[in-house]
Amino acid sequence: MQITLNGQLQNIENSQTVADLLEELQIAHKKTVVERNGTIVIEEFHQQEGLMDGDRIEIIHFVGGG
């Protein structure tokens, strides 16, 4: 399936849900803010929020450096 992730087209092979996508991107253990098609998906719903072809996904993860 093809999605637009942070403004760039990407092919996603193994992810059915937001939680899968965070795993695939190797940021599942981080604090994140996720938006799907303009609406924020809170952490409690990451497992059940399904992905569809053409989705616009924005993901921002927190880091501590500076």
């Binding site: 760039q8 253990h29 604090k31 803010v33 993860h61 880091v63 501590g64 500076g66």
Partner: protein, 339 residues
């Protein structure tokens, strides 16, 4: 030096003008951290004519800082000059009439309280625990603060304004365990410059009262992969948030809300206890710090970092050997484990 000439190009800019420049010159900004972000942001603010700058940092200059921490020189690294002190010297070379207060020490609630009143706090920190303390201090004093952080080629920023949208605690819901830090995956200077540029621009808008121009989103980018993102986060505001909700308790200002470091008698070691709401995973830590890992079992793991030995227990506690004191132990813990 002729002040009119000095700031003439900035005053010509439509968003600032005479009035905006005057406001900048009357403002007091607290810059917490004088590493990569802090030194760059401090320089830009001083050049812009900010009235008073208070600069707080607990660290000293090392050779590995020079690639990106642009106020510092080889002489500073050789002399192990405290960053705040080295920064002040260079900042006064740039603008001799600037008002710069420095504090060489660890930012804690009492220390920040002594810096008030201020118009704005800007974050140039290297750990989340102190950021949550900044968050609570700013909210208690009803002043804005600007979060900024970076690692690798990635950076992000968010402006917290009391009563105007969520605070950092609303967005993060607890303390993240640190995965990647500048000490483990490195950092390139352009990532720092992107974040600093964003923070300074937001600071200029706040200080000149150009509130309608504020970005209003959580914003991130990766200068290497060319990704960027901007999310409206208003819906994440929590009315029960202990920092910005209806009955705030400001937990990060209480002693119980801070991590603890204590020197272990006769062992040349310091024990660090994490914050109550921080989750630590031995497996995750072992994976992220493979290159430092020397031993691991189901109860603990041992990391060897720069001639120091960090023993992390399952409950999040760490015993750190070979550090000079509690401040260094806490810094090492925050950089490698989290908080």
């Amino acid at each position: 030096m002729n002040t009119e000439e000095r700031f003439s190009r900035q005053r010509l800019f439509h968003g600032i003008g005479w009035e905006g420049q005057e406001r900048l010159q009357e403002a007091h900004v607290i810059m917490v951290g004088a590493g990569a972000l802090g030194s760059l942001t401090a320089e830009t603010l001083v050049r812009a004519g900010v009235g008073k700058l208070t600069l707080i940092d607990r660290d000293y200059v090392e050779e590995s800082n020079l690639q990106r921490q642009q106020l510092y020189t080889e002489a500073d690294a050789e002399a192990c000059t405290p960053k705040a002190e080295a920064a002040k010297k260079r900042l006064l070379d740039i603008r001799s009439d600037a008002s710069i207060e420095i504090i060489v020490g660890e930012a804690d609630p009492a220390l920040l309280e002594n810096c008030m009143p201020a118009d704005l706090i800007i974050d140039g920190l290297d750990n989340m625990e102190t950021r949550l303390m900044i968050n609570d201090t700013a909210l208690k004093h009803q002043i804005p603060w600007i979060y900024g952080a970076c690692v690798g080629a990635y950076g992000l920023s968010y402006t917290v304004r009391p009563g105007q949208g969520p605070c950092l605690r609303c967005l993060m819901k607890g303390i993240p365990m640190e995965g990647e830090t500048c000490d483990t995956v490195g950092i390139i200077a352009p990532a720092v410059q992107f974040v600093s540029a964003t923070q300074v621009t937001e600071a200029m808008k706040l200080l000149t009262h150009s509130f309608e121009q504020l970005r209003g989103t959580l914003w991130s980018f990766d200068v290497w992969s060319n990704e960027s993102s901007s999310i409206y986060v208003d819906s994440l505001q929590d009315k029960d948030c202990p920092s910005c909700g209806e009955s705030p308790a400001y937990p990060a200002l209480a002693w119980s809300g801070r991590s603890k470091a204590e020197t272990l008698c006769g062992r040349d070691a310091v024990q660090v206890k994490p914050l109550p709401d921080m989750q630590v995973s031995l497996e995750q830590t072992a994976d992220v710090h493979k290159q430092h890992l020397s031993k691991a079992n189901q109860h603990l793991l041992v990391l060897n970092i720069e001639n120091k030995r960090l023993v992390l227990f399952k409950d999040g506690r760490a015993i750190i050997h070979g550090v000079s004191g509690e401040v260094e132990a806490r810094s090492l813990y925050q950089r490698y484990i989290g908080g």
